[in-house]
């Protein structure tokens, strides 16, 4: 990386054990009027926003984000870096993301292990979704190059998230975990492990025991590479329909079980509750965050007991 991590105010380990929520438009007022409370269960350590929603240099969204960033530590989650795109990372997009990072100094920056860009007739076209990758050596090299370029340009370490996929490719020579681990080791990025995505993929690709399949997936990721967990729920469907990762429900029971396992295995990690559609009240969202905090606290307490024994 050309710019050193020392140029930023935030240490990537700073957010260890923090709990946050995804901040969406209908909750702005509640989030900004929240007063600090002695009740620890209402505490939010950080909020995550979708970076593209704040690319506009001026106007109300920029003003709101400024206010939000004065109250909360911020995580910028982008969806269009397209780090696995053979067409490359879009320069203009990278430039806007960089400008937003400079304005807000986020504690975490993340995007996805997917492709989003293609070229048609010489024009850059955005695919409109997080499209799955063929897990091959060739794609791995391409993604290492793209992640390196993004990190150099942004001057920051980024976290790369495993995605929900609705297609599987025959042309795959690595497992997803092999691909992500090697990506993180070679590019020095971190991993954002979306536990809900693990369950969605396990359901959609016919795992007999999705929770167990997701646990086995997690076991293949070294703790030192994980920078954050995402937790979410989804609308149930009837087979053979695919489950859509729609973030329209409270965190599922299976996802909570997987999270307990993940924290037990990896220790406290930055954790985010994602809820993007059919939004609950702010209080309900914060209550979900409190559940995650209790699981982290239990792990921390057990670590302290172990240390003192």
């Amino acid at each position: 990386m050309s710019r050193s991590m020392a140029t930023t105010d935030h240490n990537p380990r700073e957010a260890l054990g923090w709990v946050g929520v995804g901040l969406r438009h209908p909750h702005y007022r509640d989030a900004l009027s929240e007063t600090s409370d002695v009740n620890i269960d209402t505490r939010i350590d950080f909020v995550e926003v979708h970076a593209e929603n704040f690319f506009a240099a001026g106007g109300m969204s920029a003003a709101i984000l400024q206010e939000v960033s004065e109250r909360y530590a911020l995580s910028l989650h982008s969806t269009s870096l397209g780090l696995g795109s053979a067409a490359g990372v879009n320069d203009a997009y990278l430039s806007k993301l960089n400008a937003l990072i400079e304005r807000t100094n986020p504690v975490l920056i993340s995007d996805h292990a997917c492709f989003t860009w293609s070229h048609f007739d010489g024009h850059s076209v955005h695919a409109g979704d997080l499209l799955p990758l063929e897990y091959t050596r060739q794609n791995l090299q391409l993604m290492v190059d793209n992640v390196d370029r993004a990190q150099q340009c942004l001057g920051r370490r980024i976290l790369v998230e495993n995605v929900s996929a609705y297609l599987e490719f025959e042309r795959t020579s690595l497992s997803e975990t092999e691909f992500l681990v090697e990506l993180a080791e070679r590019s020095q990025c971190g991993l954002l492990v979306d536990l809900n995505n693990l369950l969605v993929n396990a359901h959609n690709f016919s795992a007999v025991d999705p929770l167990n399949a997701a646990k086995q997936w997690l076991e293949k990721i070294p703790s030192c590479l994980i920078g954050e967990f995402h937790l979410a729920g989804y609308a149930p469907v009837q087979a053979p329909d695919l489950i859509i990762d729609d973030h329209s429900r409270a965190v599922s029971e299976a996802c909570w079980q997987l999270y307990e396992y993940a924290i037990w295995r990896n220790g406290p990690m930055a954790t985010l509750i994602e809820w993007d559609n059919d939004l609950p009240s702010w209080n309900e969202l914060v209550a979900e965050a409190a559940k995650a905090r209790r699981i982290i606290d239990a792990k921390q307490n057990s670590l302290e007991v172990t240390t003192h024994v």
Partner: protein
């Protein structure tokens, strides 16, 4: 934008990377409905493809409804979905930010029977896009010191630099009335019909950002032409020559109050 000949990749890539780029491009083309899934693909692949196609359409339709809330109300979900499909094909998103997408909706409407059914629709779409752009602009505060040029510089060399958020438009329809009528949930269609019936002459509008919010104001034809000539780059001296009856002091006061001016500049 898309046509059958466009599936090509960059020439500077390695052969392996080109092949990968081609496969990724093929998937994007299938999602956009430009290319059918080859029979070699399984039923599972087709099911997954439909998920991406539905996601794309839903996300794009949602983006248009945010940018064009009044057009959305006027046309309803079904017509908007048809327009969304057409716009995705004609002008696919290219920046990664859905808020940048959709500027060509008005032009697309003109190619459909909707333009005959609702002759004011193109102008409403234009107004909404301009409001959307004004809402995202970075407006600089007035450089107050530059106002001293009014006293110190010859007006032939003096230029007015407008705020970057400003748009102006002229319409044969009272699009501001139509737009405002759809801001409330309790739209009174009878009153709106009466107002449309009573409307005479052209409607001139200025769209700008004030206090971080987009604003919409009516103006006179003289003000519209004055602003158009400022944007053409005429100096203050030339403006006053062309618009000899224009009340510049009054307009300047209004412009400063509404934050329409970024600064005065002097050319050398």
């Amino acid at each position: 934008m898309f046509d059958d000949q466009t599936v090509s990749v960059e020439h500077h890539m390695s052969r392996e990377k080109q092949t990968l780029a081609y496969r990724q491009q093929e998937l994007v083309a299938m999602i956009y409905g430009l290319q059918k899934a080859h029979p070699k693909y399984s039923e599972g692949f087709a099911r997954g493809l439909r998920v991406y196609q539905n996601n794309l359409l839903a996300t794009a339709a949602r983006a248009l409804s945010v940018t064009y809330p009044v057009v959305d109300q006027l046309l309803g979900d079904e017509a908007m979905r048809v327009l969304t499909r057409g716009l995705l094909r004609e002008s696919p998103p290219s920046t990664g930010d859905w808020a940048d997408w959709g500027s060509d909706l008005g032009e697309l409407i003109l190619t459909t029977p909707l333009a005959q059914e609702h002759p004011f629709l193109f102008d409403v779409a234009t107004l909404e896009w301009q409001l959307h752009e004004a809402s995202r602009s970075l407006d600089q505060a007035l450089e107050v010191g530059s106002l001293s040029l009014l006293a110190d510089s010859p007006i032939e060399k003096l230029h007015i630099q407008l705020a970057s958020s400003i748009h102006v438009m002229a319409s044969d329809y009272p699009v501001d009335i139509i737009w405002r009528a759809h801001q409330d949930n309790d739209l009174n269609t009878h009153n709106l019909a009466d107002e449309l019936q009573a409307h005479q002459g052209r409607c001139y509008l200025i769209i700008h950002q004030q206090d971080d919010r987009p604003r919409l104001q009516r103006m006179t034809a003289a003000e519209y032409l004055w602003l158009a000539d400022i944007r053409e780059g005429l100096s203050l001296g030339e403006l006053l020559d062309v618009h000899s009856d224009f009340d510049f002091p009054q307009w300047l006061s209004t412009a400063l109050e509404n934050q329409w001016i970024e600064r005065l500049t002097e050319t050398h």
